[in-house]
């Protein structure tokens, strides 16, 4: 047992760090480091830069153009990107639909869809949740009826993140009402420009439209857009969960934000308040514990010698830590986090800040982070899964 990264791993980290320093535009890292609003162009710009290097699909198998990194290298890459202040990669294309297409799609689908995902040119959205199907996703009702060489899709998806920018959407749709709900679900790829697809942005409590409702009104989808077999879609969705990445813990960002929290605490004069400082110290230990847990999972993946059942804990803990640092930052600003000035949350605003400039986005970020314990499988559902593994 050894804590240190090997010389090869350290050299790899250095290689990634050098590349990121050279290729991450300063205006993007400035926005990320200061929690300022990112535009569509911002998010896609970084995706394309990674794509040009072949690093957007950094976890893809080499046969599909992936760089062939092991678990530790992938983690180091994620960490270097996060610490440098890169925008979060929108995962729906490269991390979610691509592995399903690679594992279960036809060669034609792979040739058709994977290059656009790998390059960052094509923006994908995820059509899973519905108004009546949140935690109970298997109860979904969006219907895909096979008519000749097409599926006719009718229904509604909700909470579709950034679908207002989406080019394509992968959907879990109902192709059968027989038997258990899970056995009647298919995995369908839909062009968002298809007639009958409409998108309505949903404003969240921080004033931004991060998610959407997507309506399907007699949308015609070519049958060749079905991935794998009809009625096997639930298995493909579960496949994604089984390959849960340690990235879900977001510990790299947590380390970066912990540093930012300390800077803000010092600037706001609460660093010398031991009560406040202790709260930061508690969070620091929490972050280190999470990082150790992530490393244990990586080590197990790397060596293959022991199987670990703790991956389910990563999302729970990671989300709680995200909420805690966002809360402490808002608390550090105290009453000066109270003004809600949307322009002040964009980069380059030259207006009069009420408190220090860093105060402007803190409350909105705290409010927005309440979603982390709800999305991606709510923490209640995650705890059920963990309990199942322990209690049987």
């Amino acid at each position: 047992m050894d804590l240190a990264f090997t010389p090869e791993e350290q050299a790899f980290r250095q290689q990634v760090r050098t590349w990121v320093q050279a290729h991450l535009p300063e205006h993007l890292s400035h926005k990320v480091h200061n929690a300022l609003r990112l535009s569509r162009e911002d998010m896609q710009a970084w995706a394309k830069i990674l794509g040009a290097k072949g690093w957007l699909g950094y976890a893809w198998p080499t046969q599909f153009g992936g760089p062939g990194w092991n678990a530790v290298q992938k983690h180091l890459f994620e960490e270097e990107c996060a610490l440098a202040g890169s925008p979060r990669v929108v995962p729906f294309g490269p991390v979610m639909v691509a592995p399903v297409i690679m594992a279960f799609g036809s060669p034609e689908q792979q040739q058709r869809f994977l290059p656009g995902i790998a390059s960052g040119e094509v923006w994908w959205s995820q059509g899973y949740s519905e108004p009546g199907s949140g935690s109970d996703l298997a109860s979904l009702k969006t219907r895909a009826e096979r008519v000749g060489d097409k599926y006719i899709v009718n229904g509604q998806k909700t909470w579709t993140t950034l679908a207002q920018f989406g080019d394509w959407i992968f959907c879990l749709v109902r192709t059968s009402f027989e038997g258990k709900p899970q056995t009647g679900i298919s995995f369908l790829l839909i062009d968002m420009k298809s007639p009958g697809v409409s998108v309505r942005p949903i404003k969240l409590l921080d004033g931004e439209c991060e998610v959407n409702e997507v309506w399907f009104d007699n949308v015609e989808v070519p049958a060749e857009n079905l991935v794998g077999e009809e009625n096997k879609g639930w298995n493909y969705a579960k496949y994604l969960l089984a390959h849960e990445r340690t990235n879900i813990a977001d510990v790299n960002r947590a380390k970066r934000e912990l540093e930012r929290l300390k800077r803000i605490a010092k600037a706001e004069g609460v660093w010398d308040d031991m009560r406040f400082r202790d709260e930061i110290a508690k969070l620091e230990v929490d972050v280190i514990a999470l990082e150790m847990m992530v490393l244990r999972v990586l080590s197990a993946e790397k060596s293959g010698k022991q199987s670990l059942d703790i991956a389910g804990l990563l999302k729970i803990r990671g989300s709680e830590i995200q909420q805690r640092y966002s809360e402490l930052m808002m608390q550090a600003a105290g009453p000066f986090s109270l003004p809600f000035i949307e322009e002040a949350m964009a980069a380059g605003w030259q207006g009069n800040h009420v408190g220090a400039a860093h105060c402007a986005p803190l409350a909105s970020t705290y409010f927005n982070m309440r979603k982390t314990t709800i999305y991606g499988g709510s923490n209640e559902v995650q705890r059920n899964i963990v309990a199942q593994t322990v209690l049987g």
Partner: protein, 371 residues
Amino acid sequence: MDFDFSDDQAQLREAVLKWVEKAYSFEARRSAVAAGGFSSQAYQAMAELGLSGLYVQDAYGGMNMGPVEGMLVMEELGRGMVMEPIAHTWISTAVLQAFAPEHLKTEWLPRLAGGEALLVLAHHEKGGRYHLDKCQATAKQLGQSWQVTGHKSLVPAADQAHGFVVPATANGKQALFLVPRSASTDTRHVYQAQDGSRMGELHLQDAPAQCISTDGLAALQLAVDVGATALCAEAVGLMEKTLAITVDYMNTRKQFGVAISGFQSLRHRVADMKMQLELGRSMSYYASLKLNATAAERSLAVSRAKFQIGRSARHVGQEAVQLHGGIGVTDEYIVSHCFKRLTQIELSLGDSLNHLGLVSAQMQDTAGVFA
């Protein structure tokens, strides 16, 4: 020892509740936020109900009521998330009555009671955080009157107020001033808070002022205590509403074929929310019932209460959002607005950590409600 409300008090609560239901629906509030976060009609309507003169002695045209009336009014205003800062009128009238010279009382109290004038507390400064004794603004005396210079932040309804209650240092000692709106008070920098209410910056340049008290810290402490007590009651009404909304949702929302209110793990969390609501209500009563005590006793009680309320508000707000799932974080649905207001209450007039420090510093060997 009696925690029942009198018939008059019940009627007062009913009158406010009815007004809020009629005039301050969630949709009406949303429009008021879009229009800038302060409605003079709403403020006038509250004045007409007698609320602006609630604490004003009848000699000055007020209702001559006390903290319990204030508490139950604030519970109802909290339930409706009313944005217009009537509690600041109470702060001003309380401070004027306790500290100001007679001429200042006769000049302002009737107008405050009648709703013709709005005076707000303007005490925040950059770098001051929650410290009441940090004050950069200065005042110089010219005969009987004064001039105040400085910059106060986060002033409620700054551009709507007719005057400001302002701490400023005079001859090295912190004093408290009444600064009427004039050519020397600049409130052009306005914005809205996270809860939608209107706020602004107050820039003072040799602004004509009257001295409320040279015992500035004591006067400011009273102001903050009155304000914090009002916040506690407001939070109680809002937490009650937030819990009710959450319960309704859980009883209606079905997943896995059943209402989610049936899941034991969620039921326990509802019980915990109820616990926090009732602990908060209990401490709100405590603060209100101590508001007329001597200064040290009053301030300690308020700090103890605000600490509890801060924790309760945080818990109830966060849990309400979580138990709603996705719709809890949307702007369209009401519960995120409740959560934002509860968060704002926690951060106002001293957060939990601040009040914990004050309680901790004053701990004696024995403690209890009557200790």
